[in-house]
């Protein structure tokens, strides 16, 4: 009987394995994962589509990760039910796995809205390596693509398609691309570089219907937008976002909101059951509440916390926030926290804007505490700004320096400098 069972073997699952092994070198671990490939970095599937990388390079841990960590990795297996009272999991092949400590790290699945024609041949989602492989196959025979959704995944796959020489139309329901990360100035810069690269961007509209090809109605031939205009294309990629994969939980005693509810030790409402990653609602320290934050680095942090706690090393999650570092079309962008508050009244906003050099910096302060950061094209100091934010450092005395090109450790208060220079905070 495995002591530790982990459902889902991506970011959170792998991190949990590493953490468990730090504390408990011998307790048996089993992972259950639907995917056949051993392990890889999901954020890298765009690089796979663009041709920049190959699968071996996408493996974000060593080839022998599972065996080295002495894990019984069940790949290509699906958990179909969990019995929390008797502490066992049913698999799709009829087998049963018993656990002492369980981590649910089932992740998210792409959200596909109800759309006429969504069942046609040539409609893709984009989150897993299998999605990427299927897409690449299709692209070999395609010229024009419509991408629905201009968030992290949509913009990232658009760039990959452009690199392959395809003509892309990006359709976004909101008025700006990357609207969960950037404000108008920030989005404008990225929209401009994308247009220069040949991308058609349509905002404020969505796809109403996917239509077939004149010669074959079952194959994607185009889309009709909400305002009625038609775009011809060979494939449609739906990249609107991900929703938590909670189908194993629905109807059980485990408490669920949109995602699984956890505390800061990643414990769910059921004893000995933990959850992490895209399936869980976790602590956002900028808004002081739990929410869905489907981001790879946060899933790793949470998985690590779960692993430690499962193995008996009590560890508290420090929280995360909406934070991403991007490199779209050669422009580095960092976005962290509350970057575009609807009501700006309680905030103080510092801005430096140089659209001719694609430069933009915005710091959002509340009571002299950094709560939001946008950096475009000058990002090397992002981590120090994030450190100030995370540690709620009062920046009153040096706030004008925050957006200066000379901002660095030397402007920080003496006590902070001393800790930083002497060792490791």
């Amino acid at each position: 009987m495995p002591k530790y069972v982990i459902i889902g073997a991506s970011a959170a699952g792998m991190a949990a394995v590493e953490a468990i092994r730090e504390v408990d070198p011998i307790g048996t671990i089993a992972t259950i994962s639907e995917e056949l490939c051993p392990q890889y970095s999901r954020p890298m599937i765009s690089d796979f589509v663009s041709g920049k990388t190959t699968f071996p390079k996408m493996m974000c841990r060593g080839d022998d990760f599972w065996s080295k960590k002495n894990v019984q990795a069940l790949t290509g297996r699906k958990a179909t039910a969990i019995n929390f009272a008797e502490k066992h999991i049913s698999l799709d092949n009829g087998e049963r796995v018993v656990y002492e400590k369980l981590l649910i790290a089932t992740g998210g699945k792409p959200f596909v809205p109800k759309m006429e024609g969504a069942d046609k041949d040539g409609v893709f989602t984009f989150t897993t390596f299998s999605d990427a492989k299927r897409l690449v196959k299709k692209l070999e025979k395609s010229k024009t693509i419509v991408v629905i959704g201009a968030g992290l995944i949509g913009v990232s796959v658009t760039e990959a398609l452009v690199k392959r020489g395809l003509k892309v139309t990006l359709v976004e329901l909101q008025n700006k691309i990357l609207n969960l990360l950037l404000d108008n100035n920030g989005s404008d810069i990225i929209e401009n570089v994308m247009r220069k690269a040949g991308v058609t961007i349509i905002t404020g509209q969505s796809v109403q219907r996917i239509i077939g090809k004149p010669e074959n109605d079952q194959a994607v031939g185009g889309v009709i937008l909400t305002k009625g205009n038609q775009i011809t294309c060979d494939a449609v990629i739906v990249a609107i976002g991900v929703v938590p994969r909670t189908e194993l939980i629905t109807g059980t005693e485990l408490k669920l909101n949109r995602g699984i509810i956890v505390d800061n030790f990643m414990r769910t409402s059921v004893p000995d059951v933990y959850a992490s990653g895209d399936v869980a609602e976790t602590w956002d320290f900028t808004i002081n509440q739990n929410r869905l934050l489907p981001l790879w680095p946060l899933a790793v942090s949470q998985g690590k916390v779960s692993g430690y706690n499962m193995a008996g090393k009590k560890t508290e999650y420090a929280g995360g926030t909406n934070m991403s570092s991007l490199k779209y079309f050669g422009i580095p962008v960092v976005s962290i926290g509350i970057t575009n508050p609807k009501d700006a009244t309680p905030f103080e906003i510092l801005v430096k804007y140089g659209p001719e050099e694609n430069l933009y910096k915005k710091i959002v302060l509340k009571d002299n505490i950094v709560v939001g950061i946008i950096l475009v094209n000058d990002i090397e100091r992002a981590g120090t700004l994030f450190h100030l934010m995370k540690n709620r450092v009062n920046v009153k005395k040096f706030k004008r320096e925050l957006i200066s090109e000379d901002f660095g450790l030397a402007v920080l208060p003496e006590s902070m400098r001393r800790t930083m220079c002497l060792g490791c905070a």
């Binding site: 942090s301 934070m323 570092s325 220079c421 490791c424 905070a425």
Partner: protein, 147 residues
């Protein structure tokens, strides 16, 4: 494991640490060639922090619980379990800069030529890191810490 300690009260901000780091991480290891001839241009992994009259030099702290390792999307950034060193594998790096977003010290630099991150490796092949050896004021010293 070694950790480099900066003393801001005796640093005079000359920037020789950056020069010697650049040379040490160049192909030629020759100051003239490194600065004038080499492409891609070698870059310093130590950064002189200045806000007059304060100055000091900072490089990767090789943190015990390193945020860059947790954040790395590709597995390029790892902690060596034996030495405690934070290692960066250039071939695995995809230049997503997620590590930069999480490093409190700003100690990770963008190698814009290689489109990957560049960081301090504590000059493994030398007895003492180049920045420490060549600091004329001994504002950089090496301390032995537990990995």
């Amino acid at each position: 494991m070694k950790r480099i300690i900066a003393k801001e009260e005796i640093c005079m901000g000359c920037g020789l640490c950056e020069v010697y780091c650049t040379v040490q991480h160049s192909k030629s290891k020759d100051i003239i060639k490194a600065y004038n001839k080499e492409t891609p241009k070698p870059i310093s992994r130590v950064r002189l922090e200045v806000s007059k009259p304060i100055s000091f030099a900072i490089q990767c702290r090789h943190c015990e619980d390193a945020p860059c390792v947790t954040a790395c999307l590709s597995g390029a950034m790892t902690k060596d379990e034996d030495t405690g060193l934070i290692k960066h594998n250039k071939d695995k790096c995809i230049g997503c800069w997620t590590c930069i977003m999480t490093c409190p010290y700003g100690a990770l630099k963008m190698d814009v030529f290689g489109k990957v991150v560049a960081k301090c490796d504590l000059c493994q092949e030398l007895e003492s890191p180049a920045c420490v050896t060549n600091c004329p004021n001994r504002a950089l010293t090496v301390k032995e810490v537990k990995p």
